[in-house]
């Protein structure tokens, strides 16, 4: 099982990675990407089960990545959680349109993030 963490901020990638570290012991592989294009490429080749996807990113934003994954590549089974900064207007409708499964706000609740990952992976 694979989880992809996509965020252009290295600190946040590290924090999310650290949050999900325990899952590595249960056989989950943690992958990272630093922008939208890299994320899309990784999703295409690795087909992760779950993606934590930042919305505001250079090159390709989270909505576009999600749209490409769900609608263009047809990888509907890839569970996508959009991450949006608190205070930042999040376009729920856009999130729905592009087929995101859930969205969470940053600063994220590490406990909730880990619980969500476990739930999606059935651990």
């Amino acid at each position: 099982m694979k989880i992809l963490i996509v965020d252009d901020e290295p600190h946040l990638r590290m924090l999310i990675q650290q949050t999900l570290e325990d899952l590595e012991d249960e056989g989950v592989e943690l992958l990272t990407a630093t922008n939208g294009e890299e994320a899309l490429e990784t999703i295409r080749t690795e087909e992760p089960n779950l993606v934590f996807l930042d919305v505001m990113m250079p090159k390709k934003n989270g909505f576009d990545v999600c749209d490409a994954v769900k609608n263009e590549l047809g990888l509907t089974h890839v569970h996508i959680v959009l991450l949006t900064a608190k205070g930042q207007e999040f376009d729920r409708l856009r999130g729905q349109e592009v087929g995101a499964n859930l969205y969470m706000t940053k600063p994220f609740d590490p406990d909730a993030l880990l619980a969500k990952a476990r739930e999606v992976l059935g651990l």
């Binding site: 600190h11 590290m14 924090l15 990675q17 650290q18 949050t19 570290e21 600063p107 994220f108 609740d109 590490p110 406990d111």
Partner: protein, 453 residues
């Protein structure tokens, strides 16, 4: 990483195999060589390198170094995540606390967040409304300490947060608290005082640290402020409810005065000079026999509404409606030298208001009616009288009884007053003496007067 290792192996010209701690081959071939060298960090074996001793030693050294670096990075990342989690939870608590307006809910939210941040088997908040008032728990969780705990008293007295990591050995521990091994507690401080304390305890003896204490103090500060807000808003709400209730029988300005000066608990019985007004509908019994129930209710509602307005305008207190009769007080709850004058003004105003009401009733094809009014003044006991379930602000005593008798002497449209009223209003020239009359239940006769239109 792999290319670096590969290059190194080639440079060393050796046949090298790398296995993980469980013996799973990660690199090279299983036939690399007979000797296995452990790759370890802080005495923990992470994997094995086999091959020629010289080449393997270099690889072991490189892998060991990389692994140590990775562990260091992870430790740092772990620490940062820990801080991030704390910041997140404290932020979340602030948000939650801002949204609750009930002290118990504040306590519950604070305890839940405290237990997410600080380990413990027990958590509790004890709170007191007044400095010498009783302590009561806020929120429900396994409370570590009872209000009568000596430790509680000591934290409240000193107003300083404290950690005790061997509680049974602490001089303040009581026998019933012996299951608690470690304990951490912070006072709930507001600007003026210590309103309580929040305590976490662990029966397993997990030691508390200075970092925990700092967190608990932060939670305690937020909680104390939120409890204070919750109580202030409850008081405001309570006052408003009380004010609305009082407004049903008091002029609005008097209701405000009472609420702002400490509430209805102040209205205990006192003996004071008051003027009592009784007004009732003449011939009501006969009328009601001839009318539909619905019409009677409509008549009474119109009558009471019109009369209440006049009474309030003249600073009167509406005591009660008794059937078709209105009882009102003047000079209570707030004593007034103008009570008799106010009552007389009210009585005349009521007769006028009734004329207006009757005009409107005639226009609506409804039956007009007339009222008689009686006024008397003197000392009476006024205050909240009744049981705990049902309390009413009223007046009792002979003054009240006389006023009730006088109204029976009043014909439709008439106002009858006692000698005491006439004496209270020496400047009023509109009294006509009606002579001495017998009043039911009284031994001596009484001089009564009617008021000229």
């Amino acid at each position: 990483m792999l290319p670096v290792v590969q290059a190194l192996v080639e440079a060393l010209g050796g046949n090298i195999a790398i296995e993980d701690a469980g013996g799973k081959l990660l690199f090279g071939e299983a036939t690399a060589g007979p000797s296995r060298f452990p790759v370890s960090v802080e005495d923990e074996v992470l994997g094995w390198v086999s091959g020629s001793a010289e080449a393997a030693a270099s690889i072991v050294s490189l892998l060991g170094h990389l692994a140590a670096k990775e562990l260091e990075r992870r430790a740092l990342a772990g620490e940062v995540l820990h801080l991030y989690r704390e910041v997140h939870l404290i932020g979340q608590l602030s948000e939650e606390l801002a949204a609750v307006l009930d002290a118990a809910d504040v306590g519950q939210a604070a305890l839940e967040q405290a237990l997410r941040l600080i380990p413990g088997t027990h958590a509790g908040i004890l709170f007191r409304e007044d400095l010498d008032g009783p302590l009561r728990p806020l929120g429900t969780h396994d409370a570590p300490l009872a209000p009568e705990s000596r430790f509680v008293a000591s934290v409240l007295e000193r107003g300083v947060a404290e950690i005790v990591n061997d509680y049974p050995a602490d001089g303040r521990a009581l026998a019933e608290e012996s299951s608690l091994r470690s304990l951490i507690s912070a006072p709930l401080l507001t600007k003026q005082r210590t309103i309580g304390l929040i305590t976490l305890a662990d029966t397993g003896g997990a030691p508390y640290s200075a970092a925990h204490l700092k967190l608990l103090n932060t939670i305690a500060m937020q909680t104390a402020a939120a409890i204070e807000n919750a109580i202030a808003s409850q008081q405001l709400l309570h006052r408003e409810v009380e004010r609305q209730a009082l407004k049903l029988y008091l002029p609005p300005q008097v209701a405000d005065l009472i609420v702002s000066s400490g509430g209805t608990s102040q209205l205990a019985g006192v003996l004071q000079p008051i003027t009592v007004l009784y007004a009732d509908i003449r011939g009501f019994t006969t009328m009601s026999e001839e009318m539909e129930a619905r019409d009677i209710v409509q008549l009474l509602n119109e009558f009471f509404t019109a009369m209440s307005g006049v009474i309030f305008q003249c600073n009167g207190t509406l005591d009660k409606f008794i059937g078709d009769c209105i009882m009102a007080l003047f000079g209570a709850p707030v004593p007034s030298e103008r009570a008799a004058q106010d009552a007389l003004d009210a009585a005349m105003g009521m007769q006028q208001a009734l004329m207006v009401l009757n005009q409107s009733r005639i226009e609506r094809n409804l039956r007009p009616f007339q009222i008689g009014i009686g006024l008397h003044c003197g000392l009476a006991v006024v205050g909240n009288i009744g049981s705990a379930d049902r309390v009413q602000y009223t007046a009792i005593g002979d003054t009240v009884n006389v006023a009730a008798r006088l109204v029976n002497k009043a014909a439709g449209g008439q106002i009858i007053v006692s000698e005491a009223i006439r004496e209270s209003l020496p400047d009023f020239a509109g009294f006509d003496a009606l002579g001495e009359v017998d009043l039911k239940g009284r031994a001596s006769k009484m001089n009564i007067y009617s008021v000229r239109d």
